[in-house]
Structure formats: structure tokens, C-alpha cells
Subunit: 97 residues, 2 copies
């Protein structure tokens, strides 16, 4: 793997990963803020209409090269992990009080 | 769900999602460039050392609130989908020639 083009592209991917991680964590912090407000208002954590809206918006903005079903599968994981975080950080902790 | 704070945070999440999608697709286009070079050099698609390196780097940059195992699971999906794209766009198409 000593071709210099390979290392150059990998360096670019590493830079994107730092930025991706920053955005994923920023998104997660907003999900937590949202969870705290929903909890305060006595609203349910899971909102199927809102999740549907996220998938629809993301699909509408997708210009590839990732195909729509790949983007959907990545978002399924992001939403799963967001819901898990919201549950452990907002709901479980507040129930413990 | 008429609390104005909820809509405001959802709008911010939607903006992040547009940017996340742009980065995921930029990352995918780099993976395709890398795949084409690896194919040209007769290298294998799957490189466990490089994947290990990606997980390690991402874990090293993670400042939360997403926990390390959540970040890992999201990256597992991103890497799975990257590999799938690389295989269908670079390897399968070139084999068909």
C-alpha cells in the first residue's frame, strides 16, 4: 500500500471523519436538548412522524454517490443511537429522581 | 408538539443533516477513488488494518455526548456501506468488462 495516492486520499478521509464526528456529536447534543423539553412537557420520546420526516428530508437532499438505501441504513443507525442516548440521558436519569 | 423550542431545535437538526449527508457523500466519493486505485494495483478491497485505524482515530477524537460504543456502531454502518459501494461501483463493474 505504498502508492502515495492511497495515503493522500486516506488523509482526506480522516479529515472528513473528524468533521463527521463533530457534527454527529453536535446533532446528539441537540437531541438531548429536545429530549429534555419533551420530558418537561410530558411528551413521548418516540415520534414516528418526525422520524419519517427526517428520512424524507435526507432522501430529498441526497445527490450520491451513496444510494438512497445506504443513506437510509446509515440514518437508521444514527436515529437508533440518538434515541438510546435520549433514553439514558434524559428519561432514565429523570425517572431516578 | 406546538412548543416553539421544539421546532427551533428540529430546524437546527435538519441543517446538520444536510451537512452530514454532504460529508457522507464526499467521503463515499473518496472511497470510490481509493477503490479504483486499489483495483488498478491489484490490491484487496478489505483492509482490516486500515479499518482498525479508522475506529481508533474516531474514538480518539470523540468528545461526546455520543458514547464511544455508539460512535463505533455508527461507523460500522458507514464502513459497511462504503465497502458495499466500493464493491458494486469499482470491483463488480470492472469485472464485467
Amino acid at each position: 500500500m505504498s502508492d502515495p495516492r492511497i495515503q493522500k486520499i486516506r488523509d482526506e478521509i480522516d479529515e472528513i471523519d473528524v468533521e463527521l464526528l463533530r457534527l454527529l456529536n453536535h446533532r446528539a447534543s441537540l437531541v438531548l436538548k429536545l429530549g429534555a423539553i419533551k420530558h418537561e412537557l410530558g411528551l413521548k420520546l418516540f415520534d414516528p412522524d418526525r422520524e419519517e420526516e427526517i428520512y424524507r428530508k435526507v432522501a430529498g437532499h441526497n445527490e450520491g454517490p451513496l444510494p438512497a438505501d445506504s443513506v437510509n441504513r446509515i440514518y437508521e443507525r444514527i436515529i437508533d443511537e440518538s434515541r438510546r442516548l435520549e433514553r439514558t440521558e434524559v428519561y432514565d436519569k429523570q425517572e431516578d429522581r
